[in-house]
């Protein structure tokens, strides 16, 4: 199969207006990926699926990623070919920001395998996929408001102090429970002031 650079050049020749760049993977896996601009993404996906040299008929994995440092949310598609038994070709789509411009084109019309996985990304990251046939929350309940897989999600403060804390648990315990009284100072009261324990 052609390399990611060759594939990018071929795609640029076929879709002259599109912005396509190669995201290099510096790790030993060397699975490089193609970063697409959202608007022609679905046409490119159809091309990748139907091109006789590629035949990427199988979308294996759809991953949402939150990049607060880049200021965007990202979806990664891992494509393989069942007909020609090669792969992966990795596509990345990025939103404009993390707050209001979080719309990306859905690739479910191209590969139905994306249906539940894109719903999951919508649920946990809040990326809105246009033309998805059934975009609802999939894992959390419908009334839920947050997107819990984002890096800045604050979970409900609802578990008690553990005797052997480590790292993040200790930080939560500090927020949650008062320090033990130092000798001579009045008792600060029971720990029932935490939100989880209110009736």
């Amino acid at each position: 199969m052609e390399t990611t650079d060759q594939l990018r050049d071929r795609l640029l020749a076929r879709f002259p207006g599109a912005e396509i760049s190669v995201v290099t993977n510096p790790g030993p896996a060397a699975q490089h990926s193609l970063l697409l601009s959202p608007s022609p993404a679905r046409d490119i996906a159809v091309f990748l699926r139907d091109d006789p040299a590629l035949r990427l008929d199988y979308c294996s994995n759809v991953t949402g990623i939150d990049w607060p440092t880049l200021g965007c949310l990202e979806v990664v598609y891992h494509l393989y070919s069942m007909a020609l038994k090669h792969g992966p070709v990795i596509l990345r789509l990025r939103t404009t920001n993390r707050t209001d411009a979080v719309t990306l084109p859905s690739l479910t019309p191209v590969w139905r395998a994306c249906e539940f996985q894109e719903r999951e990304v919508f649920d946990l990251y809040g990326i809105v996929f246009t033309e998805h046939p059934d975009l609802r929350r999939i894992l959390m309940w419908d009334e839920f408001k947050d997107h819990p897989m984002r890096k800045d999600y604050v979970e409900p403060d609802d578990y008690e102090w553990e005797p052997t804390p480590h790292g993040g648990v200790l930080e939560k315990a500090k927020r949650h429970y008062p320090a033990a009284p130092v000798a001579g100072v009045a008792d600060p009261g029971p720990a029932s002031a935490s939100p989880a324990t209110k009736p």
Binding site: G27, Y58, W111, R112, I138
Partner: protein
């Protein structure tokens, strides 16, 4: 329409042609239902007893696996992978170890690769045996087939327990090898079990496979077409039952599978009966693989001496590693930012994605058929919801 196999209208309501019909009935099956294999829920719309619409509802076992993976070290996620698909902890371990080894460029010694193959094929036997038992349970043969299946399962679990210390949650693979070596006694016991497994399958098939009721209940029920299966990302025995030849043990030849001679069974019709038969045939191939592995198992270390367990920090980068689990392609997508914890830890769950076509398979069938179609898809909720 550019879609392949997708009905963009959303509602899959069948037209009702006869004049004599009543209202449609909505039934919520689950999350507490004896036949949904855990806390899975189907919202079924019925016309009489015929399914005209079916919407799966997930999330009742969403245990935040991926979020926990981001907050835990690489090795710390290994026990969590046991609890993904809790029937097949060994293959989950392997898939995760493979992804991390790809991420870090970590080689694995030969003996460890053989041990992994042995354990993965034993897991496949275990999973497919349990599936056959549960499928028969779902189709009304209450008790007996499941008793047979669990009798064999206990034997395999005894092997796992003596090797790893735990029956179900083995936590056995490490990045660059395995945790403990198999003793000659263990290998002898495993070989004895493998040699006897064919006889069990013969017995089980005599009891089940030719059974007239099973054939009537499963043949022609829930037919999956190959092009829909490919488009919907179906993997594993369910894909191969439709006749598509795609087995990662052959395609990727991960581990040392290229050294083994085995056949990939393919189905013809893609119906529930084919999905059952594929599993039985795969078990027979697994026995072949196991016997070759016991014959060729080399001596040597089981852990790469340069492998780092404590303070493991792969370089910045990402990797997607996948193996052929008993339920389909189980993959892990990891992004490292150079810290001890992965920046992103994603599980590609075969059970969830195989459920994409559940509605297509069930439309036009009765509720009782939906139960065995679901049974033949072979889901485990720990993996569906993660």
């Amino acid at each position: 329409m550019i879609a392949s196999g997708l009905q963009t209208t959303g509602a899959h309501v069948r037209e009702v042609h006869d004049d004599f019909h009543g209202d449609l009935l909505e039934v919520s099956m689950g999350p507490h239902h004896p036949s949904t294999h855990g806390v899975f829920r189907m919202q079924v719309t019925l016309d009489g007893e015929t399914i005209v619409k079916l919407k799966p509802v997930f999330g009742y076992l969403h245990r935040n696996h991926e979020k926990l993976g981001e907050n835990t070290s690489y090795l710390g996620s290994m026990p969590y992978t046991d609890r993904l698909d809790y029937l097949n902890s060994m293959t989950n371990n392997w898939a995760y170890a493979l992804a991390v080894e790809k991420l870090a460029g970590q080689p694995v010694p030969e003996r460890a690769e053989y041990l992994r193959i042995i354990l993965a094929e034993l897991t496949r036997l275990l999973n497919h045996t349990c599936l056959a038992g549960f499928l028969l349970q779902d189709s009304g043969a209450s008790g007996t087939p499941l008793m047979y299946a669990f009798r064999e399962r206990e034997k395999i679990l005894d092997l796992f327990e003596s090797l790893s210390g735990s029956r179900m949650m083995c936590n056995f693979q490490r990045f660059g090898g395995c945790r403990t070596d198999a003793s000659p006694e263990w290998l002898a016991a495993a070989k004895k079990l493998t040699d006897g497994y064919g006889a069990f399958l013969d017995e089980y098939e005599r009891l089940i496979t030719g059974n007239e009721i099973l054939m009537a209940r499963t043949q022609g029920v829930g037919v999956l077409k190959p092009d829909l299966a490919i488009s919907a990302g179906i993997t594993g025995p369910m894909l191969r039952a439709t006749g598509v030849d795609y087995d990662l043990r052959k395609v990727d030849a991960y581990g040392f599978y290229s050294r083994f001679a085995f056949r990939v069974p393919l189905g013809d019709h893609g119906d529930t009966y084919d999905r059952y038969m594929i599993r039985v045939l795969e078990m027979r191939e697994s026995i072949e693989i196991l016997q070759q592995a016991f014959r060729d198992l080399p001596a040597g270390p089981i852990m790469d001496p340069k492998a780092k367990l404590r303070g493991f920090r792969p370089k910045t980068g990402e990797a997607y590693g996948r193996i052929e689990g008993p339920k389909g392609e189980i993959g892990f997508y990891l992004i490292s930012d150079g810290t001890p914890n992965p920046y992103r830890y994603r599980v590609r769950p075969p059970s969830l994605i195989n459920l994409t076509v559940l509605e297509d398979l069930c439309l036009g069938h009765t509720v009782a058929d939906a139960v065995i179609i679901l049974g033949s898809i072979d889901i485990v909720l720990g993996e569906v919801d993660r």
